[in-house]
């Protein structure tokens, strides 16, 4: 499946503007379901890709783990695979043409390993794992979810790494003592990959970048350093922690076969990498990634903006010694997942793309609104007693109207996040850059432009996450001179402009919000 979209006869026949010769940058994307390696040329075009899935381990309901040793093996394989494919497709290619390696990763997934043997002490606890729910409630004490928000920008929630470290220290025999003695290292997947890439037990560097550190609940957003009070409160010994570095600098050089001595030069959490790959380098620029769920990030410049509207404050990126760039983040749990639900649970369509075909058989939603609060309402409401609702049903409504309502649900949820961002930051959204699987849906993208009342633009390179990691690594080694050069690489593949009448938009938004209120309070106390 890892065919590349280029590197074909057209390029070698007459290279013109293509990537006939190096140098190149390699990006490793250590994701939730798979690890990938993509090789990019100077124009940001994909030269070679390799990918390998890893096992999802579910020991109990709500628990999700990864085998970190398997992941490291896979990372080595996909790097070797991508290098091999590049060598096949590009005459004269040698691994020495790869000038830097960048890392992007699933965020928050937590691992502890033995610094002397390199062996993980337990499977990694994946970000989706909810075993620390109770711990997080306890840690909130009388203050609640927001106990550490002012310092870290985050609510106390089970996603984040800090409480996961505490859980491991509490549940793996003798681990706390070993950790306090300095024998144990903590890392999110960026740290694990970089430590191994740069030598592991033989001098591997133990670092993380500001974006990954900003998802631990342990870092002070302003000083960009670990916060001792919070470490004490959560019960994490400082000895396990990696050094926090910028997102774009040389951390060390690779020691693995094929890429000896290549600088390892960037690390970014996946959503931040997408922000970087979409070249959202100015305050007020935003990107939204539409997959199973959706993650929207808004660049808020050099100041962290506190959210009073249910968003997360996070580091967007930091290039070397430059000032850090902050972002507001809003996530939507169910977007592509609702389309999958229409396909798998309802059987109304046979492929995700058919939702558009079905929706286009009618002019509008016929009065129906679908709020997919399958496991509660997230940003900006945060109500876990809510459950999904289809509101406004009449005898007139058909499956096609429901299909419209499904697509509109993604658009309106984006609008609510965008509104929260505007309220928190005072910045109006000028345009939204989009990526992810759902962007192939033309009707959805038009609807999004309509409800946001702002242009929606799709870039020509769909792999914005890997591209962001490659960009940050390339900047660090001077492969690209500055962010302006990266912007020049960003090409618009499509743009949707708002066409909806203002009064219609207001009426529909009003109806959507009415439907949202109908979901609230569905779960009653004793059912919790």
């Amino acid at each position: 499946m890892t065919d590349t979209p280029n590197g074909t006869a057209a390029d070698s026949a007459d290279s013109g503007s293509s990537h006939g010769s190096g140098p190149f940058i390699a990006a490793i994307d250590q994701g939730t379901t798979s690890s990938r390696c993509i090789v990019f040329d100077r124009d940001g075009r994909i030269v070679a890709v390799d990918q390998k899935e890893h096992e999802q381990i579910f020991p109990k309901p709500g628990w999700v783990e990864h085998d970190a040793a398997e992941i490291w093996t896979n990372v080595q394989e996909v790097v070797a695979g991508a290098i091999r494919k590049a060598a096949q497709d590009i005459p004269g290619f040698t691994p020495a043409d790869v000038k830097a390696i960048g890392i992007t990763n699933q965020r928050e997934t937590t691992l502890l390993w033995d610094r002397h043997t390199g062996e993980p002490v337990h499977n990694a606890l994946v970000w989706q794992d909810t075993r620390t729910d109770t711990l997080c409630r306890e840690l909130g004490r009388d203050v609640g979810q927001d106990r550490f928000r002012a310092t870290t920008g985050l609510p106390l929630a089970s996603y984040f790494a800090g409480p996961k470290i505490r859980w491991l220290l509490d549940h793996v025999d003798g681990l706390r003592e070993r950790a306090e003695a300095g024998d144990i290292l903590f890392g999110t997947m960026d740290s694990w990959v970089i430590w191994n890439l740069t030598g592991g037990v033989n001098g591997g560097v133990h670092v993380t970048d500001v974006t990954n550190a900003s998802r631990t609940l342990l870092m002070d957003l302003r000083s960009l350093d670990w916060d001792q009070d919070i470490l004490d409160a959560i019960g994490v010994p400082a000895a396990v922690l990696p050094q926090i570095r910028s997102s774009s600098e040389v951390y060390g050089t690779a020691t693995i076969g094929g890429l000896e001595d290549v600088p390892v030069a960037s690390a970014l959490g996946d959503q931040q990498a997408a922000l970087f790959g979409q070249t959202c380098f100015s305050q007020g620029e935003a990107k939204s990634t539409y997959g199973t769920g959706t993650f929207m990030l808004l660049n808020t410049g050099s100041t962290p903006v506190d959210s009073r509207n249910g968003l997360i404050t996070t580091v967007g990126y930091r290039i070397g010694d430059d000032a850090p760039v902050y972002a507001l983040e809003g996530s939507i749990a169910v977007t592509g997942a609702l389309v999958q639900w229409m396909r798998d649970q309802m059987g109304l369509i046979s492929t995700a793309a058919e939702i558009e075909t079905l929706a286009l058989t009618v002019e509008d939603n016929g009065g129906a609104y679908f709020v997919p609060a399958f496991s509660g309402l997230f940003a900006p409401y945060w109500q876990d007693d809510a459950r999904g609702v289809i509101a406004g049903l009449t005898r007139y409504v058909t499956k096609a109207h429901i299909a419209r309502a499904v697509l509109e649900a993604t658009a309106w949820q984006t609008r609510e996040i965008a509104d929260a961002m505007t309220k928190d930051s005072g910045v109006e959204l000028a345009a939204l850059k989009v990526d992810g699987g759902m962007t192939s849906n033309n009707l959805l993208m038009q609807t999004l432009a309509d409800v946001l009342d702002a242009p929606v633009v799709r870039p020509m390179v769909a792999e914005t996450t890997c591209l962001g990691a490659a960009y940050a690594a390339g900047l660090a080694v001077g492969f690209w001179p500055d962010t302006d050069a990266l912007r020049a690489n960003w090409k618009r593949a499509a743009e949707w402009t708002p066409r909806m009448d203002g009064a219609d938009r207001d009426r529909e938004y009003h109806n959507w919000r009415k439907a949202v209120t109908r979901t609230m309070g569905w779960i009653e106390e004793e059912e919790h």
Binding site: N6, A10, A13, G16, R45, A353, E354, T357, K491, A494
Partner: protein, 255 residues
């Protein structure tokens, strides 16, 4: 009119038999139920199997209906699925050619644009998804007319308006163009639809090698053609590579 063809009648009877109550039948069950010699039944089953209408269980050797039969009922490839499959390849086509890329399918008497990728420069462009283009003069349309018999009859029987001085309108010349298209595997439009615009297109096939659409690029004639007015081979190669890649993604074998 000739009488019914016996082997087809028998094949139909076998399919009906397999569609009935019991899902899997052995060769002798099939042969005896229909009063056929085993050899005859086996020959028909094997042909049906090659076409995917029947599958044989590797362990028991019994026969059942094949997946192809289910697909036959809804064989229409969803155009939005087609777009989703084509997305990365057409992005790359626009990028490597420097021109806008399009994906078109037959719709009524014309070409419906189901996907459009902007030319990778910073100029303002408008998304043309949903627009209709003429069948007889555009590169996309000529590809469809050359490979899809339904498109061919629409183009052959419809009016072929002279949109520019270079539009090919006579039936004989048009058929000659389609022959050329089939012979070389791609079509061009040199200012035959719009003054100053040249296009190149190639066919996209699905897993049964049915032509389901056309993919191509379009741009200023000075860029698409060289100084002698000939289409740049590099662009033709890029378009054909893209068409092949999309076809491969749809399951069409290598070709």
């Amino acid at each position: 009119m000739p009488g019914p063809i016996q082997s087809l009648e028998r094949a139909a009877a076998i399919l009906r038999l397999l569609a009935g109550g019991e899902r899997r039948l052995g060769l002798s069950d099939v042969a005896s139920s229909l009063g056929l010699a085993k050899g005859t039944a086996h020959g028909i089953l094997r042909t049906l199997q090659q076409e995917g209408f029947v599958e044989q269980d590797p362990v028991s050797g019994k026969y059942q209906l094949g997946a192809e039969l289910l697909r036959l009922g809804n064989s229409f490839l969803d155009v939005h699925e087609l777009r989703a499959r084509a997305l990365v390849w057409t992005d790359d086509l626009a990028r490597s050619s420097g021109e806008s890329a399009y994906l078109g399918v037959l719709h009524q008497q014309g070409v419906l644009i189901v996907h459009h990728v902007f030319r990778p420069d910073d100029s303002r462009q408008v998304l043309e998804v949903g627009a209709m283009q003429p069948l007889h003069s555009t590169a996309l349309g000529k590809v469809l007319a050359a490979y899809d018999p339904v498109a061919h009859s629409e183009a052959a029987e419809g009016e072929r308006a002279a949109l520019t001085g270079r539009t090919v309108t006579s039936a004989a010349d048009f058929e000659a163009l389609l022959d050329l298209t089939r012979a070389r595997g791609w079509a061009a439009d040199l200012e035959e639809t719009w003054e100053g615009v040249a296009s190149i297109a190639a066919p996209v096939y699905d897993r049964r090698r049915m032509p389901v659409g056309a993919v191509g690029i379009s741009g200023a004639v000075e860029r698409v053609c060289d100084d002698d007015g000939a289409i740049r081979p590099r662009l033709v190669a890029a378009v054909r590579d893209c068409a092949r890649a999309v076809s491969r993604d749809l399951g069409a074998g290598r070709f």
